[in-house]
Symmetry: C2
Subunit: 177 residues, 2 copies
DNA sequence: TATTGTTATACTCTATAACTATA
DNA sequence: TATAGTTATAGAGTATAACAATA
């Protein structure tokens, strides 16, 4: 029948669960705070915050989508929502007529500012309260490397051509329906 | 009102972003694999996996909900979906007529088994490939502490709701029995 | 032809509230 | 009264494919 599953050891399992559970709980708490304080979803906050960190508070749709992994249409949906609320504007790019430049409005900045203190408070209470200085440094280092690696690694079923190594390992049990 | 709360320093910000981004990318990849390999969402996988680790493959709805933080109605929805697919059964509890016991079927176990190798492969490729042994140990330790702290910390603006305080029962944070 | 973005659409998931029934 | 679970329902979010306009 099925070959014995390539096992993770207890430490790996612990790291995986802790990562998923901690990030899930943290994100959940942060989402609640953002919703209450500024009626923003996490994605919307990410978009506004990205714009706030950009020169002139502006960014092209495509560049925004690169930072916030979702689909183009999903970004369009969010941009429309934010524009209706007056938090961003969308204007055709002068350089490339195909492009749309999204820009943070003053009101967008205001909402961002009004939400930020509570945001930081949640992080302090939930994440940093339990961690030492060196813990935080280690987290930033380790997870930063992990994130950079993931960014460089193509989705396994998308490229599908180049396998990395170990031809003995057969990872894809492709079982539709 | 307080003007500005203690801002986050660069390291804290780095740790926060790395945590959110890494977990987001990892979860996204895992969800894709679960969908392709077994047509499962992450929550559904968590439910099946939780049952798979439970005695007799059974658990009460409420106990399942405690492990998977969502609302009761959300769990009902998922349980119905899984039951329609024949992956779990739902039967009234003999002990307490109000309760419903969810049990993993053989087919549920089969799907779980068919999905698991690819699941592990994604973790190996995306998460563990970039990390040393001691990195993984540090992650498990630090994030484990963070998670435990979050579990103990009540939501800030929410009144404490359901709490099960049976002193003899349920003192274990992560892996019961 | 390739890229940028929008629209249309369908579907999944989650949350709230009202409800039933058991304890 | 409190707890266990379901139902009804509504809304947000996401993904895909077809599409238009520009490069």
């Amino acid at each position: 029948m099925s070959p014995s599953p390539p096992p993770l050891d207890a430490t790996q399992l612990g790291a995986y669960f802790a990562l998923i559970e901690a990030s899930s709980m943290l994100k959940h708490a942060v989402e609640q705070q953002l919703r209450e304080a500024g009626d923003l979803s996490y994605v919307q906050f990410q978009i506004l915050a990205t714009l706030g960190d950009s020169p002139a508070g502006s960014r092209r749709m495509t560049d925004l989508a690169d930072g916030v992994v979702y689909s183009r249409s999903g970004l369009t949906y969010q941009a429309q929502t934010l524009e209706k609320r007056g938090l961003v504007t969308r204007t055709p790019s002068p350089d490339d007529e195909r492009s749309v430049v999204v820009t943070l409005t003053d009101e967008g900045r205001a909402v961002l500012a009004s939400v930020f203190p509570g945001h930081v408070a949640v992080l302090d209470d939930l994440l940093f309260a339990a961690l030492s200085r060196s813990d935080v440094e280690a987290l930033a280092d380790i997870l930063g490397r992990a994130r950079d690696h993931m960014r460089r690694t193509p989705p396994r079923s998308a490229g599908q051509r180049r396998r990395r190594k170990t031809p003995e390992e057969d990872p894809t049990p492709s079982r539709p329906r």
